[in-house]
Symmetry: C2
Subunit: 328 residues, 2 copies
């Protein structure tokens, strides 16, 4: 029920996931509304519906999820908790999804805080950035765990062997950063089981220098949105530059195919969404503006992560990590 | 003496500033080296040299500036302090320039911490982002002062009347952010003399939504470098897309002029560099990779800020601001 284009595009994406990717989907929400949307695809018999009469509005934010135990996201999390579904996909409010996920799916044993992981379109393989906004005031000990969550995601979700980890800060030397980053650097450098490449900076995010970039949720969210906004801005400027003179416009026509490919690759929808890691179940948060294609990709990602045991992999890493003596 | 292309490009930039922009320049550094570089432009008689035998290396960082009272940046700051120069331009280590500036030029009365201001290439007018890295662990009260510094810079340096201020955080609602940002939001909203537009996010940096974006130095530095890295990455991807097929390459040739213009506008060198605000003198920090054009633009900016009284303007704003009762 959540997302700027709900329910039509969400349902269309679910139908795509079932028909084109073979992912079995259950829709959670208002049956009448969903049945109608399914009917448009003649898919009423293919996709079961679980009733949830309420829904979190996009602007309701974190607190509303506490007040609405019958919201579609809360009911969907409950299905996972009961074992009736393997993972949740939502295009609704990120804050709502994070809060509901934490409340209904709970943190995995030993995990201090969950983190949102996103993949950046680097080549030849994507880069994982986390936390992209679940925990705004993170402690250094949480950043060490984020490294473990990110490694598990890179291995299980992206098939990257021995992922290298970087810490997002403001200079390459160990002592560069704010207090949280400096202490996190010490802890990650000393942690067994983490292939730590040291500090990375904002301009390293798209160079593929490391496989996993660790950050507190505030900085990670600002960096991710800056990156997305800058891609959008630069594309707009290109389009303007191409469109301005007749000669240039002709050139633009000749390139249109290539540019569309590039735009597609840099489109956040193509990545399949962000993943909330560290809970007892997998929760994929699709972009609020997702269309069918983005939803289908998110369903595919959720199915893959669940089938390949991301929760167990994280559990193993956290269990193997030495416990911090002093937390906060 | 500082910068990746020192001394040749720095001296060439100084010559450009004198000859093309009418900015009187004094060079500070090793006389023999500088005389040689000036001779290449036949400019030995136009630009005086002040001797400084030492220089901070690019990788020496903050502490070295304490150990080297005779470095070129320290001597240059001393010239300003004595009134023999109006402002300093450096392409050397940012950390070294900030530390030396704070030590030799001191903070203006009432200013808690200096901030680095940069201008982003929005249209029709640029956007000021600060702090871009001077103070990694900023308190909320410092962010309120950064708003005043940014307003003064937008007015004096960029000619923007009644600049609107935004706070860089992770959601548009007042309660979105980490603890520092949330408290800063309350303080800035209550501060007289600040036209506060509320929170802005990473994707707002290039939209020109506000004139001044306030941030702690850690987040601001990550955002700035992410933005620069993403522009570079997207350009590279475009170039690749354009170069791949013969037809597309023909298109690229037709557009080359437009794209070069765009690349120029998005090039950090074109902005003239970052400015360290809040000290008793003006210090412009050019990009370490600056060539002559960037250095000339930085000299121009330094001359303009000094001539138009940026220090006095900041002093007036800070003096007029109500004092915080509880600092730390």
């Amino acid at each position: 029920m959540g997302g700027d284009n709900a329910p039509a595009e969400i349902v269309a994406g679910a139908v795509q996931a079932v028909r084109e990717r073979g992912v079995p989907v259950v829709l959670v929400g208002q049956p009448r509304v969903l049945q109608q949307a399914l009917a448009a695809h003649d898919a009423g018999a293919e996709i079961p519906i679980v009733r949830a009469e309420e829904a979190l509005a996009m602007d309701e934010g974190a607190l509303a999820s506490l007040r609405r135990p019958k919201s579609s996201i809360a009911v969907a999390c409950h299905l996972v908790r009961r074992g009736d579904a393997a993972a949740v996909v939502s295009a609704g409010s990120t804050a709502g999804a994070v809060t509901t996920g934490r409340l209904r799916l709970r943190a995995q044993q030993g995990v201090l805080r969950p983190a949102i992981a996103v993949t950046l379109p680097t080549r030849p393989r994507p880069t994982v950035l986390l936390d992209a906004g679940a925990t705004a005031d993170a402690k250094p000990e949480m950043l060490v765990q984020f490294a473990h969550l990110g490694i598990a995601y890179a291995e299980v979700g992206l098939g990257i062997a021995q992922p290298r980890v970087g810490l997002l800060t403001i200079g390459s030397e160990a002592e560069k950063g704010n207090k949280v980053a400096k202490r996190a650097h010490e802890l990650i450098a000393a942690a067994p089981g983490i292939d730590f490449a040291g500090n990375v900076e904002g301009h390293d995010l798209l160079t593929g220098k490391v496989d996993v970039v660790v950050s507190d949720g505030f900085t990670g969210n600002v960096a991710l949105k800056t990156l997305e906004g800058t891609v959008r801005y630069t594309f707009g400027q290109f389009r303007e530059a191409i469109g301005e003179s007749p000669l240039a416009r002709l050139g633009g026509l000749l390139q249109r195919g290539r540019l569309r490919e590039l735009a597609d690759r840099l489109d956040p929808e193509a990545y399949g969404g962000a993943v909330l890691l560290g809970l007892t179940g997998t929760l994929v948060i699709a972009h609020g503006s997702s269309h069918a294609r983005g939803i289908a990709a998110a369903c595919d990602l959720a199915a893959r992560l669940s089938a390949q045991g991301i929760v167990a992999r994280i559990g193993d890493r956290i269990a193997a990590a030495p416990k911090s003596h002093r937390l906060w």
